[in-house]
Symmetry: C2
Subunit: 317 residues, 2 copies
């Protein structure tokens, strides 16, 4: 099958073996997939991954021991737990120590004609959600994870740092909480997507220090946490979404002196994301920069890594 | 008056001016004071402080507009807020941006014959609490801050890293929550103080990774947070008590991938500490290494900085 494979460098190949579904797994033909910043970070050395890249997708179930699923259009959760450990038995398979992660850790990803996934990872996509919208289910679920982790009230002053793909999704998800939201970025044209939804945006702001109850770092840059530490109020929260290959040198004293909490946040609830897209609350089409074929995968990665790019979609089948 | 003054180096002087209490302040004659690791860090450059060092004390009110306080034995909260800002108006004077901090920031401290403090900062000490015990009220309050910040249940597996003064106080305070507590340190003789109170202790442990719901870093060392990140479970909490002059290089990805929360924790509730000491729940005498006179203040600092030292007390008056 066709696949985009990373092994020290990114290659498009046409002879990658079609994976074989195990018991309780489905074979899924990928129709559309999205390039995430994590994919780009992996090509820079993050996670030391080798194999087929990609974890944001929509596809059609082709083979499955559960006949009812065959032919269904699905999105899929990306963590594959062992099914036996304390975490898996407590609905925390995202944190199973022996897990593999689609296109990120010990499991071939979705930039290919086919993948396999456990049936329990699959979510059927309602008809009213388009192919392009469905590609956003996984990253939007990661945005909704914040709302699952933290009780945000309408009186909270919240700042989202970063106007990349994840920042724009997080801003739209947090806007549904009714909190006093400000989105901050470096690109007028990206922020204008949020302006249209009524979210307050600031370009290259001169911040007031100690001003926000909660700051979400979606910058994908080591500077994000430093800015967050300046603008969060004492006793406030910083939510960290950024993962980057390099280590950061930070002044931990600030956390102690100002009693700030740092909350790491990763994958989230697919049903909440599907519900939000279905309800029309989240405006996704303006977030699509380009659509490429899988054959042009290397070009697609180059495009996705550009500063002005948003979501680059691969139309695979 | 006599004072231990830090200005690039530590000096004992006898001609320091007695401070003059402002309106709503008391003049307090210091009887006993304790040397804290923060004091030692300040002599290494932390906080860039110049002036009289020290913030743990007990003393007698000598002058005060409120006559009832005169002659009373008191401990005192160390943060002096502006009284006007949002934080001061919401019982968060510890976080007032314009605050001074006794012996740490823009305010002469307690290693002297006299200090002044606002009346609102003072707590009368019950007679059943000895002079030596009273010196521990401030650091024990900092230990109780953790219980104020975080809901700890009896099923939680908690680890306290560090068997220094603060670690031993934090362990004893957290033991009162009934949680499954393990205290970890490098000094058999220090941990034996906790053994006697029934707390489980481990010396130079080979930890099981991802094992604890909550880890409290009281190591006072940059290695503490790194160990904490290894042994906390995914979704768990790290409480940071350590403040050190140097910056730390840490892998922030671990917070995101394992959805770990880092909670900075500083000063705490004096009434809780006073109540705990009065009830006899906290065994403080074994934590006292040495008692020095203020004249021997420089010797006292040398002793307090030794690896095997615990609390060094200055008997001032």
């Amino acid at each position: 099958m066709r696949a985009l494979v990373f092994n020290k460098k990114l290659e498009y190949v046409t002879d990658y073996p079609v994976p074989e579904p195990k018991e309780n797994e489905a074979l899924i033909r990928i129709t559309h997939a999205g390039i995430c910043n994590t994919d780009i970070e992996i090509t820079r050395g993050y996670m030391d991954f080798k194999g087929v890249l990609g974890h944001e997708f929509t596809g059609i179930v082709e083979k499955c021991s559960n006949n009812k699923l065959i032919g269904k259009r699905v999105a899929g959760e990306i963590n594959l737990g062992c099914g036996k450990c304390l975490y898996c038995r407590n609905q925390m398979q995202n944190h199973c120590p022996g897990r593999s992660v689609l296109g990120i850790l010990n499991k071939d990803g979705v930039f290919a004609d086919y993948i396999t996934l456990p049936v329990g990872n699959l979510h059927e996509i309602p008809k009213s959600i388009s192919e392009e919208e469905a590609v956003f289910i996984e990253p939007l679920a990661a945005a909704y994870e914040i709302i699952k982790q933290i009780n945000i009230s309408s009186s909270d002053k919240v700042c989202v740092l970063g106007d990349g793909k994840l920042g724009l999704l997080v801003s739209q998800a947090l806007a549904t909480t009714g909190s006093k939201l400000t989105a901050v970025g470096k690109h007028r044209e990206k922020l204008s997507i949020l302006d249209k939804t009524g979210i307050k945006t600031i370009l290259k702001a001169k911040f007031r220090e100690r001003d926000f109850d909660m700051v979400v770092d979606c910058t994908g840059s080591p500077s994000g946490i430093k800015t967050a530490l300046k603008i969060v109020r004492p006793g406030g929260k910083i939510v960290l979404k950024t993962t980057i290959a390099e280590k950061s040198q930070i002044d931990l004293n600030q956390f102690v002196i100002n009693e700030i909490s740092l909350i790491g946040s990763r994958c989230g609830p697919f049903p909440d994301a599907i519900k939000a897209i279905k309800s029309g609350k989240i405006d996704l089409y303006p977030l699509i920069s380009d659509v490429f074929s899988i054959e042009d995968g290397k070009k697609a990665f180059k495009q996705a890594a550009k500063k002005n790019a948003l979501k680059v979609i691969l139309k695979i089948n």
